[in-house]
Amino acid sequence: MEQLCTFYLDSYFLAVDALRVQEVLRQQPLTQVPLAPPAIKGLMNLRGQIVPVVDLRHRFGFAPLPPGKKSFNVLLRGQDGLVSFLVDRVADVIEVPSEDFEPIPETLQGEGRRLLRGAFKLEKRLLLVLDAVRAMDASEL
């Protein structure tokens, strides 16, 4: 079984390994970084630690959320420290059998495809597994 932390991003139902998730927060005040890659929404202060915030919508090529709509921060432990992903809404932590894991369906195209590791076919819908390492990789931004 695999424990996954799931969330919504535009039309996608996404997941990351729950063990890598440190915490989930409502939208936090951000400090923009001029000249930074556009997917870097800014820096946030997490109890004295400075954490980069990656706009997943931008990474996947989705339009920004309408103004006034708040996003959520999913904080993941990465190789170079914590990274926060901005997502539309956080859902449940679920358990799925590892053997249900499948490669990404051919129908999925575009930039998003590179950021996904695979998918789980759930009863009602498809759960896409985010390649968190690639999504936060500085050299890919």
Binding site: L30, P34, L35, P52, A138
Partner: protein, 736 residues
């Protein structure tokens, strides 16, 4: 049993410290073999190790140190002189002691390795000249002028058991003054202090209406205590770079011997202090660089002599603070890095494509050596040339937020420059605002703050050849608009703004910002990797309200704003020391068109103003023409008049013929102005301070290469004297 372990642990720490000192002293002793004080210190150290190891029952260690001590004792007494073989043997002893101490640490014994041969060598050396070792003592009291405080003299005469007590007593005296503290504990305290500073900032920012008199007094006290605490902890963490540098003479000596080269190391700025963690972090990169310098840089003596250099190579390691950063430079006067070889190697190893190489400039080619898997050594030696190294140096330095630069000249030498930024530190900073964002400017880079308001200052911003400048007390200051640099529409009002005068690489420039919101102690935190390479931010910090603020990197800003050139122009490198100097002493020049269309320049600092005058307003006045200028009469002279033209070719006398206007460079000060008419103002550029060649005609002080072309430097002294008369010129130059 615990007590015993403690003693052993203490013995290990003390001995290791002693050995580090021993290494340095032995190499130093080689230079001055008759230095009695050095000898005494070396002897004492060996003696202490011998005594304690005997007491603790490490017999092999004891036998070895005893043999060494005997040799040292006779040298101290002036009976034996140090020579090369003896130094080598003694250094071997130091290494052997180190190895045995490592064994003691893990296994509580001095190990299975056999050092009897070395012990025997030392013994023979000690016995070498005199027949008996033991009986030589009576000479001792006569020979040394007793520079020793804690009588090491009886050492050799007395039984070992007694020796063991002597050093123990000696230690107990000094132990009262210093305490050994675990580094981890200091790091922890540092973190707490950082948090305390943030909390303090939050409290200080509370609206004053809410704070009654009592709590504001408490807040004030909290503030003072925080400052004191933080300073104390900071100081606790500082160490002189000497702790790294001092290892270099020994490393170089051993390596040079191994490669059959003659190398001298010179260390400068040993007392430059650096945060302990940074010292640790630069230790390996620096060691690697110095090994490289000996192995690859310095040529063998015969080659050097054939090339007309002294047989002995020279490596200069230099540390200094500059603009809130620690700079470490390592220069050698060796063979330099052959760029064609670099190119070939990089291609052979598929690190770059031929197309890429074709487009590279020299500095870019040089920096190929930092690519992983690169090595130019033809032969793999046991020192270097295994293809690991330079990339590791770069990675290590960059890991602490620093940079490495390399500058090389074939046949002349190579200089590596490490720039270690301020990290992990609490620094005072100025907070500036752009829109709703605040940025921190470390105060070490800050020279002054100018508020510019229309009406109050006579002139706001002027433009010289498109570059914005501000006249600050009669000197032209280049400006950078912060909003523009960070790619935002300007938020600065044209009529009121601040100029933050900063210093980078010895150059001053003004940063134009919308507002200044205050100053604060900030805890510098490294930037996350995703935003590390932007170049104009040195780090980030958390402000009192909990928001993150970016810390500006002054040098990065200056480079981005083209105030200092990113890749330094290559000047001729006559001497190693000049090479180091040249990198630092640079100034800004105003470049203009001189007579015969040549390029002329003058230090920007000597220029008061640049004006455009109407030539029909010129009136004859004595020898020269003059114009009314700022309620004053300013003599105005065309540059052709003071600098003699080389070619006599017919040309219209006045360069300003076409539209009745002329460019005038104004020198001097109110009451004593002088104007120089030039055909064209070309540019403002950076260049070395020292002139490269002397002038060849009157009015020219010398020549310089600016922007890879020759420019003549105007002899201001001469020009002012010619126009204003010597007396006034002298008073002007003096006041400048």
């Amino acid at each position: 049993m615990d007590g015993m372990q403690e003693i052993v642990a203490e013995f290990l720490v003390e001995s290791r410290e002693g050995l580090d000192q021993l290494d340095r002293d032995l190499v130093a002793l080689e230079e001055t073999p008759d230095d009695k004080e050095l000898l005494a210190r070396i002897f004492r150290c060996a003696h202490t190790v011998k005594g304690t190891s005997g007491f603790l029952g490490f017999t092999k260690l004891e036998a070895l140190t005893h043999a060494g001590e005997s040799l040292l004792s006779r040298m101290r007494d002036g009976e034996i002189r140090l020579d090369d073989a003896k130094t080598t043997a003694l250094l071997a002893m130091v290494d052997a002691i180190r190895a045995m101490l490592d064994e003691v640490e893990v296994g509580a014994t001095d190990g299975d390795k056999d050092y009897s041969e070395l012990t025997e060598t030392l013994r023979q050396m000690a016995a070498g000249e005199a027949v008996q070792i033991k009986r030589s003592e009576p000479v001792a009291p006569a020979a040394p002028p007793a520079p020793v405080h804690i009588a090491p003299e009886p050492a050799v005469e007395e039984p070992i058991a007694v020796d063991a007590h002597a050093p123990a007593q000696h230690e107990s005296h000094t132990a009262n003054e210093t305490v050994r503290v675990d580094v981890g504990l200091i790091d922890h305290l540092m973190d707490f202090a950082g948090e305390l500073v943030l909390t303090r900032n939050q409290i200080m920012q509370m609206p004053s209406t809410r704070a009654d008199a009592l709590s504001s007094a408490a807040a004030q006290r909290l503030n003072l205590i925080t400052i004191a605490l933080q300073e104390g902890i900071m100081r606790m963490r500082m160490q002189p770079v000497d702790s790294v540098f001092s290892k270099f003479p020994r490393i170089v000596r051993d390596l040079a011997r191994g490669c059959r080269k003659l190398v001298r190391v010179e260390l400068e700025g040993k007392n430059t202090e650096l945060d302990k963690t940074l010292i640790e972090a630069i230790k390996d990169p620096l060691t690697h660089l110095i090994r490289n310098a000996v192995d690859h840089g310095i040529e063998p003596p015969d080659v050097r002599q054939a090339r007309g250099k002294p047989a002995e190579g020279r490596i200069l390691v230099r540390a200094f603070h500059q603009g809130g950063q620690v700079n470490i430079e390592m220069s050698d006067d060796g063979a330099g890095i052959p760029l064609d070889k670099v190119k070939a190697k990089a291609l052979a190893r598929n690190l770059v494509t031929p197309e890429q190489v074709a487009g590279l400039t020299e500095p870019e080619l040089t920096s190929l050596i930092f690519l992983p898997g690169f090595s130019t050594a033809d032969q793999v030696t046991n020192v270097s040339g295994r293809g690991v190294g330079m990339d590791v140096v770069k990675t290590n330095v960059e890991a602490i937020g620093g940079t490495v630069e390399v500058e090389t000249q074939l046949g002349k030498g190579t200089t590596f420059r490490l720039r270690i930024p301020l990290t992990l530190a609490i620094v005072p900073a100025l907070l500036v605002a752009s829109g709703s964002d605040r940025f921190a400017v470390p105060q070490v880079n800050l020279l002054e703050l100018v508020r510019v308001e229309e009406g109050r200052n006579e002139q706001l911003i002027e433009y010289v050849h498109g570059a914005p400048v501000y006249r600050l007390r009669g000197k032209l200051l280049q400006l950078i608009f912060f909003d523009e640099q960070i790619g935002r529409p300007s938020s600065v009002s044209r009529t009121s703004f601040y100029i933050v005068v900063l210093q980078a690489s010895g150059r001053q420039f003004g940063l134009v910002v919308e507002n200044v919101t205050g100053q604060q102690e900030i805890v510098v935190k490294p930037l996350p990797k995703q935003v590390k390479d932007i170049g104009i931010f040195a780090g980030a910090t958390i402000l009192g309200d909990g928001r993150v603020a970016l810390i500006l990197d002054t040098l990065g800003l200056a480079q981005r704003g083209h105030v200092v050139s990113e890749i330094r122009e290559r000047a001729a490198l006559p001497k190693l020391s000049d090479l180091v100097l040249a990198a630092q002493e640079r100034c800004t020049y105003l470049l203009f068109r001189g007579p015969d269309d040549g390029r002329m320049a003058i230090p920007l600092a000597s220029v008061a103003r640049l004006e455009i005058i109407r030539t029909d307003q010129l009136e004859p006045s004595g020898e020269h023409e003059a114009i009314q200028y700022r309620d004053d009469i300013m003599p105005v002279v065309p540059v052709e008049r003071v600098v003699i033209e080389r070619r006599s070719r017919p040309r219209s006398d006045a360069p300003e013929a076409s539209n009745n206007e002329a460019n005038v460079i104004v020198f001097g000060r109110p009451g004593a102005y002088m104007g120089l008419v030039v055909a064209d103002i070309l540019d403002i550029v950076e260049g070395p301070v020292t002139l490269q060649h002397a002038g060849t005609r009157p009015g020219v002080a010398g020549t310089l290469i600016l922007q890879s072309r020759i420019a003549e430097i105007l002899d201001l002294d001469y020009v002012l004297s010619a126009v204003l008369g010597e007396e006034q010129a002298r008073s002007l130059l003096k006041s400048a």
